[in-house]
């Protein structure tokens, strides 16, 4: 059977975004993402512009999954951080429990600063996500509670 859905309520979403906004400011970053390890984008904050955040989330998760596989082959549980340095833009990824904290930064920041600030918020983010994931799913609150066959069929017309 598929896993129980993750429900992210408005209050929690805005709390996450507030943490990401603070991180972006402290790290002088361009964009900060929170992504589920399965590739689902949870929250994003920053100068998104034309950035395809959905694709970036999926690729980052794939990246971490692939390098995680490599880590296990050499006897490590996983690589907790990954960094990719470009000519102008760089990406730093931290594994925070079941999430990935992704920071896109340019010459306004540095890898050292991004690493430091990412580490500083990791525990807070981890606790917030634990609360979200472990919250009891109130079925009456779900958008699916009253969904009908006609509702589902209408998607495919």
């Amino acid at each position: 059977m598929a896993d129980t859905p993750i429900l992210l309520h408005e209050r929690q979403y805005h709390q996450l975004k507030a943490v990401l906004a603070r991180l972006r400011m402290d790290a002088s970053a361009r964009v900060v993402f929170l992504v589920d390890k399965d590739g689902q984008e949870i929250a994003v904050q920053g100068e998104i512009g034309n950035l395809d955040t959905t694709s970036l989330a999926s690729l980052a998760a794939g990246n971490v999954a692939a390098t995680g596989g490599m880590a296990q082959l050499i006897g490590e549980k996983e690589f907790p951080t990954l960094s990719h340095e470009g000519a102008h833009e760089s990406i730093h990824i931290s594994v925070v429990g079941r999430m990935l904290l992704i920071v896109v930064f340019d010459e306004r920041s540095s890898l050292g600063l991004v690493k430091l600030r990412s580490k500083q918020v990791s525990q807070q983010l981890s606790a917030m996500m634990d609360e979200i994931v472990n919250a009891p799913n109130d079925i009456s609150d779900s958008p699916f509670a009253e969904i009908t066959d006609e509702d589902i069929d209408s998607l495919f017309q």
Binding site: A2, P5, L7, I42, G62, G68, I152
Partner: protein, 194 residues
């Protein structure tokens, strides 16, 4: 794993297309990409070799519409089909909400279909999933080729439960959307059951 964001009013689900090498998984996604209005889909990301064989995965987000005020988005993935990419296939199945098995209808590929299906069951089990309980559709692709096995015979061999069986020619698009609709409906129905 389905993700419901009440703030942005979005439901996100993951569907994985599985099957042996060159069965038509990527072709399915390519057709969906080309036939869908740009505002209803994202980019098609294909991590492939120089000879266009899927190396890691293909990915495409698709917006099906709104239900009860929530946008329903499906993240479509394909796995690499070649046998030696098993480590990658395991990773891509993580968080799956529904599976499409694309079978190659050609006679000479029947063994590959069986091996791939067995591989799917094993890899799902390794991730804690049970194919018997997961939304699942069996697509019989390449129905236009001359050397194919009758659909009833392939289904008899490959069907695992009472899953929908859809005949397809992914290269022309025939059956592609029927397959997608069948699996998406199952995923949403399953979510309704809670």
């Amino acid at each position: 794993m389905t993700f419901i964001n009440y703030a942005s009013r979005e439901i996100n689900c993951k569907i994985v297309y599985y099957g042996p090498g060159l069965c038509g998984k990527t072709t399915n996604l390519q057709h969906i990409f080309e036939a869908t209005a740009p505002q209803a889909r994202g980019k098609l990301i294909s991590l492939a070799t120089e000879t266009d064989r899927t190396l890691f995965f293909d990915f495409m987000p698709l917006e099906l519409g709104t239900v009860r005020g929530f946008k329903t988005r499906f993240h479509l993935y394909t796995v690499p089909g070649q046998v030696f990419y098993d480590a990658s296939r395991k990773l891509i199945l993580k968080g799956v909400d529904g599976v499409v098995f694309v079978a190659d209808s050609q006679e000479e590929r029947m063994d590959a279909n069986i091996e791939s299906l067995h591989n799917l069951e094993e890899n799902l089990k390794a991730q804690g999933y049970d194919l018997m309980k997961l939304p699942y559709v069996l697509q019989l692709n390449k129905r236009d080729l001359p050397n194919i096995i009758p659909a009833i015979d392939i289904a008899a061999e490959l069907r695992r439960k009472e899953e929908p069986v859809v005949e397809a020619v992914a290269s022309t698009g025939a059956g592609v959307f029927d397959t997608l609709k069948a699996v998406a409906k199952q995923v949403l129905t399953e979510l309704r059951k809670g």
